[in-house]
Symmetry: C2
Subunit: 343 residues, 2 copies
C-alpha cells in the first residue's frame, strides 16, 4: 500500500465543495462564524466532514498558543510490568479533558530525561506530569517550572509542586489490623532491603498497628528480603521453621509473598491453615494466580494517574492552587490467604 498524498484534503477543496472562498472556509472552521448565515456555516462544516478535512494542528497551535497536549515523562512505567495502570488513569483523565497524552519513558537515564523534557517543551505541551515507577523523593529538573506540572508517584522535598503518592503507612497499618482482627498476635514482617520511602513507611504502619493493639514489636520476626529471582528464601525458611514461629506474615510486596508461599511449601505448612500471608501491590500477574489467592494491599496506580492529570488540568485552566501533597488510600484486597486464628 503506497503512501497516497492525494488522500489529503486541503482547505481549498473544502471551500470549493461548499462554494465559498478559502478565507470564509478558514474562518468558519476556526469557529469564527459571526459574519456568516447558518446555511453557509453548515455547508462548510458538512463539506469538511465529508471530505475528511484535517486542520493542521501545528499551525492552529501556533495561533492559539495551546497544543491540547499533555506530556508525561516517566522513568520506566510503560516499559516494566508494575505500574502501567498509572498511565491508564492519566490517559483517561486527559482524554476526558480533550487532551492528548504524549508519553515518553526515559528508563531512568539522566541524559535521555533531559532530551525528553526538551522535546516536550519544544512541542509546547500545555502541562507536564513527571512520574516515577515507584514512590520516590526526587530533585525536580528546573524546566518543570516553565509549564504547569504535577508529580506522580514522586514527591520533592520543598513541596513546591503538587504531588500524589500512595499512603504506604495507612495501607500497611490496615493490612496488619486485618490480621489482628482475624486473631493473629504473632505477626512477622518480610521487609525490603532498599532504603526507599515505602520501606520505612510500611514498617511504621506495621509497628503502629501492633502498638495500638497492645502487641509488642518482635524484631526477630522481621526478616530482610531474602529473595533473589530463582534463589532461596533461607531467612523466611528459618523464621517459619522455628518453634515460636509467627502465625502470619505481612510481606513488603507480592513477590516476597510468593517467596513466602515457596517457603511454606518447602516446610509443609499450609496457607492459610498453618500460616496466613498478606502482600502489598496487588500485582495482577501474581496475586490472583497464587493458590490460594493472595490477600494484599493495592497500590492505587490508576487512581493516582487520574488524580495527577485532573489536578494538572485545573492548573492549565489557570486555577490558583496551593501545591497539594496528596496521599492516595491503599485498599486491602481480600482473597484466601488469611485464616481466622483461634485464640
Amino acid at each position: 500500500m503506497a503512501i497516497n498524498p492525494a488522500r489529503k484534503t486541503r482547505l481549498k477543496d473544502v471551500a470549493a465543495a461548499a462554494g465559498v472562498s478559502s478565507a470564509t472556509a478558514s474562518l468558519i472552521l476556526n469557529d469564527k462564524t459571526d459574519a456568516f448565515p447558518t446555511s453557509t456555516i453548515d455547508r462548510v462544516r458538512e463539506s469538511a466532514a465529508r471530505l475528511g478535512y484535517r486542520p493542521n494542528a501545528l499551525a492552529r497551535s501556533l495561533r492559539s498558543q495551546r497544543t491540547h497536549t499533555i506530556g508525561l515523562i516517566s522513568d520506566e512505567i510503560a516499559t516494566t510490568p508494575f505500574a502501567g495502570a498509572m498511565i491508564r488513569g492519566a490517559q483517561e483523565a486527559a482524554w476526558k479533558a480533550g487532551h492528548v497524552l504524549m508519553h515518553i519513558d526515559t528508563e531512568g537515564d539522566y541524559e535521555m530525561e533531559q532530551a525528553a523534557l526538551e522535546a516536550m517543551l519544544e512541542r509546547k505541551v500545555d502541562g507536564l506530569v513527571y512520574a516515577r515507577m515507584h514512590h520516590q523523593v526526587v530533585d525536580i529538573p528546573d524546566v518543570l517550572t516553565e509549564v504547569p506540572a504535577v508529580l506522580l508517584d514522586a514527591r520533592e522535598p520543598t513541596e513546591t509542586l503538587a504531588s500524589v503518592v500512595p499512603d504506604e503507612r495507612s495501607g500497611a497499618k490496615g493490612a496488619v489490623e486485618h490480621l489482628i482482627a482475624m486473631g493473629h498476635t504473632r505477626i512477622g514482617f518480610v521487609q525490603c532491603v532498599d532504603p526507599i520511602p515505602a520501606a520505612y513507611q510500611r514498617l511504621d504502619g506495621f509497628q503502629t498497628a501492633l502498638k495500638e493493639a497492645g502487641l509488642d514489636y518482635n524484631e526477630r520476626w522481621t526478616v530482610i528480603d531474602p529473595l533473589e529471582p530463582g534463589g532461596h528464601a533461607l531467612e523466611v525458611d528459618r523464621l517459619l521453621a522455628g518453634s515460636d514461629r509467627p502465625t502470619a506474615l505481612f510481606c513488603f510486596n507480592d513477590r516476597m509473598a510468593l517467596g513466602a508461599y515457596n517457603s511454606a511449601r518447602r516446610l509443609g505448612l499450609r496457607i492459610p491453615e498453618d500460616l496466613s500471608v498478606v502482600g502489598f501491590d496487588n500485582l495482577e500477574t501474581v496475586a490472583p494466580w497464587l493458590d490460594p489467592g493472595l490477600t494484599t494491599v493495592e497500590l492505587p496506580h490508576y487512581e493516582m494517574g487520574r488524580w495527577a492529570v485532573d489536578y494538572l488540568e485545573r492548573l492549565i485552566d489557570g486555577e490558583s492552587l496551593a501545591p497539594e501533597q496528596h496521599l492516595m488510600e491503599c485498599p486491602l484486597i481480600e482473597r484466601n490467604s488469611v485464616s481466622r486464628r483461634q485464640m
Copy 2:
C-alpha cells in the same frame, strides 16, 4: 513555585549576546551557515547553549515538513504488565535515530483509536507504529496509508504493510524439542481457550516436534486452559493424577505454568523430579520467582519493538521496501523446571 515566563530565552536574546542580528542568529541556528565565518557560527551556538535557547519546534516543523516525531498507537501495551518491553525497544530505536516516540494507548476502544490516529496525523508525525499487546490479525485503519507505517505484534491479511510478530510455531517447537532431548516421550500440552494466532501456531509447533521425533500426538494429554484467577486447575489435576500421566507439560503461557505448579503441589508431585514444566512468555514477574525457576520460551518484545522502528526509519528516509512480514525468533530460557528422564 510559580511559572516563570522570564526564564524563556528568545532568539533576540541569543542574537544580542552574540552581537549579531536576529536574522543571522536564526539562519545559523537552522544550520544555514554557508554565508558566515566560523567565529560567528561558534559565537551564536555558544550563546544559544549558554542561555538555554530552545527553538520553537512547531514553527520549525512547519518550515521543514518534518517533526522528528514517531507515533506509536497501541491497544493496551503501556497500561498492562505483559509487553512493555516492546515500547522500550521502539523507544530506544527512535532515540537512536533522533526521533521522539509519542505514545498513545487506546485501551482497545475503537473511538479512542480513531481520535488517537487523528491526533497523531494532525501533529504531522513522520511515521506510525500500529501495535497490539499480543499477536493479532487486524484490519488496519485507512489513515495508516497516509504516512509510513509498520505493524508491531500484529499482521493484516493483505500484507501490504510491513509487520513483525513472534515466530510462535518455532518457539513452541524448540521448547518441545528440548523436552524430547531431555528424554521425555509423554508430553502434555496445556492450551489456551481463545482462538488467537498464538493458540493454533503453538499447537502446530508442539505437534510438529512430536512428529519429527516419531512420537504420537496424544489428544488426551492436551487440556484446554482450566485456570481462572483464584480458581482451581481441575483438568490439569485430573491429567496429572492419572496412571498414564505425562512426565512433562508444555504450557501455553507462564500463568498456566504457575497453575501447573499449583496442581503438582496439590498432588504431591515434585518439579522437576516428578514433572517437568515449560512455559511461554518469560514473564518477568513470574518465571524467575517460581520455585524452581521456570524454563520458558521468551516472547521477544524488546527485539520486535526495535525492529518495527528500525524498519519505519528506513521508510521515513525514503527507502523503497517491499512490505516485509518478519517473524521474530522466540528463544528458550532455561531455568530449573526440566529434568532429564531416564529412558
